[in-house]
């Protein structure tokens, strides 16, 4: 784990400003720390030597001002840090989203991305801890000990040397013990996850346990597992807490050592009271920033991890360049051809498509079949320009799609993906994704054709029912029908259907199959499928095997 990622500096201008601010505030704080010690020692020693309270009034007022100044600096440290954290994360989030939409609509690793994005909003807590607390502390840990040592050296060289000897012990001990505990800490987290998942497993299985009259017996097991975990963890913590304690021991022993040495030299008359007190008050300030840095470290590590996760995603290679400039020809004007198309995913070895050839003639329905993982969905993604071929090309009426503007081509295409997304909004708005200008009547007609009208009418508010996250949940079959309605309302000449009946019960599958039949009329269809009811009506069946189109059956049904 690094303490800083230079990529953040390059990308986020807010970070550069923050670092500059932090250094200024850090130096200011160090000066106030020194001033505070000098004033405190002066007041005490003057009073000790009999100065009247009135004579000390100026110094006392100054000391109040110094404390107030430190308060203001602490405040501005945190405000600056938190604000920078907000700006940085906002910048990273928006970059990520924009990039995703413009150059990587089909993510290479959907799962990891979902996790990172889900973390990107609450991740601000970690990032605020990082920028608002850790980074200032890092600056303080560099500036304050140096300043303290300089002043102590100016006052009393011997004390400075004593401090210098104890100071490096602190990071060395921390490093040694940190290394030793790191592995055991990881084991502990593993144990914690196991413990938590055991309890979750039992709670999830409660109905089953009750059904088999075994629920009571689990009480003992839960308690045993908890006890075992406590013992194992305490064993780790006994070592884990050592690093913090050694650090603290170095600090308190350092202070005690300085105090006793100064005391003895005061008795000898080798040092004045004011000098001695100044050094004593400064001694804890030498170790404090380092100790606090240690406590901030873990909280801020999460924040940096979130930022690094997003930075990693931003650096992944783009899937599509979208550099074409021509207006794409309509698929009604000529055939769509895959010409020797090859494609492989960076995360998987080998090619998914290897010299793939396919022709879609205007008005025909082609079924693309093959085992799962054969690359059927990749064919659809390539045709939608969500991915780009690594070799070969896709042409429409002889024009290479790579040289066309993606938006101009997509206007001719409708798409029913295997897991259609439902956006938050009404049913009608969701269907209008296919054509934003569709009237209510057109939306309704599309729904009727897609076999969706019946279930939509049964919803409490019909087409105005809110669906999607937070709204009414739809079944797989209902989602599929909404996606089909999008395709109808778009009324595009080319339609791609990806496993439109997978995971549906027979009744829903039949409704969807009927809708697909209606969709065929006057359109070119590419259906990725393995269920017989859809394949039966295809004009041609193309089988995908080892990255190539192999068996071709013409006109399987009348």
């Amino acid at each position: 784990m690094r303490t800083f990622d230079p990529r953040l500096l390059e990308r986020a201008s807010a970070v550069r400003r923050l670092l500059a601010t932090d250094v200024v505030i850090g130096v200011g704080t160090a000066l106030l720390v020194l001033l505070q010690a000098v004033l405190l020692a002066r007041i005490v020693s003057h009073a000790f030597h009999g100065a009247s309270p009135a004579a000390l009034r100026v110094d006392l007022t100054l000391l109040v001002a110094v404390f107030a100044g430190r308060g203001v600096l602490t405040w501005s440290f945190e405000v600056a840090g938190r604000r920078a954290a907000q700006s940085v994360l906002s910048e990273l989030r928006l970059d990520l989203v924009e990039r995703r939409l413009r150059s990587q609509p089909r993510s290479a690793d959907g799962a990891a991305e979902g996790e990172i994005v889900a973390a990107a909003v609450p991740g601000i807590d970690g990032l605020e801890a990082y920028f608002g607390r850790y980074l200032p502390q890092l600056v303080l840990a560099c500036v304050v000990p140096a300043a303290v040592l300089c002043l102590v050296a100016a006052i009393d060289l011997r004390s400075a040397l004593l401090m210098l000897v104890t100071l490096p012990l602190v990071p060395v001990f921390m490093w040694l013990i940190g290394r030793y505990t790191e592995e055991r800490t990881r084991e502990r987290w593993l144990a914690l996850r196991l413990l938590s998942s055991h309890f979750l497993d039992v709670v999830r299985g409660l109905p089953t346990l009750r059904a088999f009259n075994r629920a009571r017996a689990q009480v003992g097991v839960i308690s045993d597992v908890g006890e075992r975990y406590r013992r194992a963890t305490m064993g780790t913590l006994r070592v884990g807490f050592l690093s913090g304690s050694v650090l603290e021991l170095a600090a308190t022993l350092g202070v005690a050592l300085v105090a006793v040495t100064i005391g003895v030299r005061l008795v000898d008359g080798g040092l004045g009271l004011q000098a001695g007190l100044t050094v004593l008050v400064l001694a804890p300030e030498l170790y404090l920033p380092l100790r606090q840095l240690g406590t901030q470290y873990h909280a801020s590590a999460d924040g940096l991890a979130v930022a690094e996760g997003i930075l990693g995603l931003l650096e992944a290679a783009p899937a599509v360049a979208n550099s074409g400039t021509l207006a794409a020809p309509s698929p009604e004007s000529g055939p769509v051809r895959f010409e020797g198309v090859s494609f492989g995913y960076p995360s998987r070895s080998g090619l998914v498509l290897d010299g793939f050839e396919l022709e879609l003639r205007a008005g025909e329905t082609v079924a693309l079949v093959g085992p799962s993982g054969a690359g059927k969905s990749t064919v659809a993604d390539l045709l939608l320009l969500l991915l780009e071929p690594q070799a070969g090309r896709i042409t429409v009426d002889g024009v290479d799609l790579g040289s066309c503007r993606a938006e101009s081509w997509r206007e001719y295409v409708a798409w029913v993906p295997q897991r259609p997304s439902i956006l938050r909004g009404s049913v009608a708005d969701n269907i209008r994704l296919g054509d934003v200008s569709a009237t209510d009547a057109q939306v309704r007609d599309a729904a009727v054709l897609a076999g969706a009208d019946a279930f939509v009418q049964r919803l409490p508010d019909g087409y105005r029912t809110e669906i999607g996250d937070g709204g009414r949940q739809l079944s797989a079959g209902e989602r599929r029908r909404i996606a089909l309605a999008r395709a109808f309302v778009r009324d595009a000449p080319l339609v791609l259907l990806d496993e439109p009946t997978a995971d549906l019960d027979d009744e829903s599958a039949a409704v969807v199959a009927e809708a697909v039949e209606r969709l065929r009329v006057g359109r070119t269809l590419l259906v990725v499928a393995h269920r017989p009811e859809l394949v039966r009506h295809a004009d041609r069946i193309v089988r995908l095997e080892a990255g190539r189109a192999v068996a071709v059956a013409e006109k399987v049904a009348a």
Binding site: V44, F67, R83, F212, A256, V260, V267, L280, G470
Partner: protein, 554 residues
Amino acid sequence: MTSALRRLLAFADAPRPRLALAVLLGTATIVFGAGLMATAGYLISRAAEQPPILSLTVAIVAVRFFGIARPVARYLERLVSHDLAFRVLARARVRAYERMEPLAPAGLGGYRHGDLLSRLVADVDALQNLHLRGLLPPLVAAASGAVCVGVTAAFLPAAALALAGGLLAVALVVPLVSGWLTRRTAGRQAPARGVLTSELVELLQAAPELVVYGREEERLARVQAADRDLVRIARRDAFAAGLGDGLQLGLAGATVVGVLWLAVEAHADGRLDRVLIALLALLALASFEAVQPLAGAARELGATLAAGQRVLELVERRSRIVDPDDPSPAPTDPSLVSLEDVRARYGTGEPWVLDGASLCLERGSRVALVGESGAGKTTVTNLLLRFLDPERGRIAIDGRDIRQLRQEDVRSLIAVAGQDAHLFSASIRDNVGLGRPEATGEELERVLRLVGAWDWVRRLPDGWDTPVGEQGRELSGGERQRLCAARALLVRPALLVLDEPTAHLDAQAASALIRDVFAAAGDASVLLITHRPEGLELCDRVVELRHGEIASAE
């Protein structure tokens, strides 16, 4: 707020002696730290009077003692308090489980679904912070603050008053002020975060479709707007949130200066020895360590209370399903299980799931119950196992209402397998033997053979000691269902309920599974609950659940 805290502390209570020990060690840590600075200040002041070195021995020993004792006390305090937290967690888990057990599944309300259940478990886990981060810091602050004030009072009562005032101000006023300042923004920040998260997640999930349909710009603008909102609110919040730390430092400084002023004056009046000026000032400065963690503790306590209240809300529910005071003896070898004109729902005000449903299951019969998803088929399972009581009509075994029997007896007569049956993250053997842990190897082998799983289990490298993974994830859908059926048959039930056993299987595997399980069930009755056609031809009767009633299917 306080009553919730009291209820929560009763629910997740800590052993008193350990709690006291943790407070004692925490207090010692802070007092030793203050003692180190105070005695060091005294030592240097006294040394400046150049007395014989021997007269400083006590002070020197004290400084060294505090220097060593403080980290030791801190180390022990951390060990004791963490140990305490784990003990509290273990107890809270056991108690939460004990209270939830009679409620599952029908009484758990909204918690029937997986992700909410995970949140509940996380909420129970959060209770480990109740003492560690919520309760210990204020107790330690009170005790150590009192010691520091007491020591100051022994030398100069007026300074003690000033110190007490300063400590109280930091402990109470600072959290109040920053709480008041952030209240407005904090309340708006959480919803703004929620909006942005859902916009982001939705946009990324739907990215391919949005791009294909050319609607990405519009969605991007929505995310940008949500992001702007959040940043604006959060920036304002940062201003108020950082104030707490600054204010704390300023107040501590003012107090130290006040103590110093009083000490200087007292010395001028001859009421205070001059060697004590440094002691009092440095003691005051160091004593603020006691109250420093309180602002954080208040936040932690707030979060833990919120989690705790959700747990309490659930565990304080009472199950309405109880054993009768005078239970009838369990029927042996019953010949008829029946639902008679049953009306049932999951709570007052909820819609009726079953309304006038009747069904007879004679010994040895094979009956299929079909119906659309959501028609209430699983409710029939819940009623048969007495996880739910009907509000009208009855469920009877050989004509005796199951409410007259002990729940345990009902459940040893009726076993269930199927979609919702849970496989635990344990070995195959443990999962199949769940209902009868005393079953012998031969018995296990027999049921595994019966359901057609034996050949496959035997060939596994570890045989039936092979773990099935979390929720049986290492197994295929068919294998999972066969193990669930074996588990149900091992208890030799009079009625086997198969609740959607073929949900994730293809047609061929579904038919094979049902054929095997039907054969394995022998003379037990089987109720097959399904929405698919497979297996219906093997049944004596097919009935349909529609509009809360059960009728013969056409």
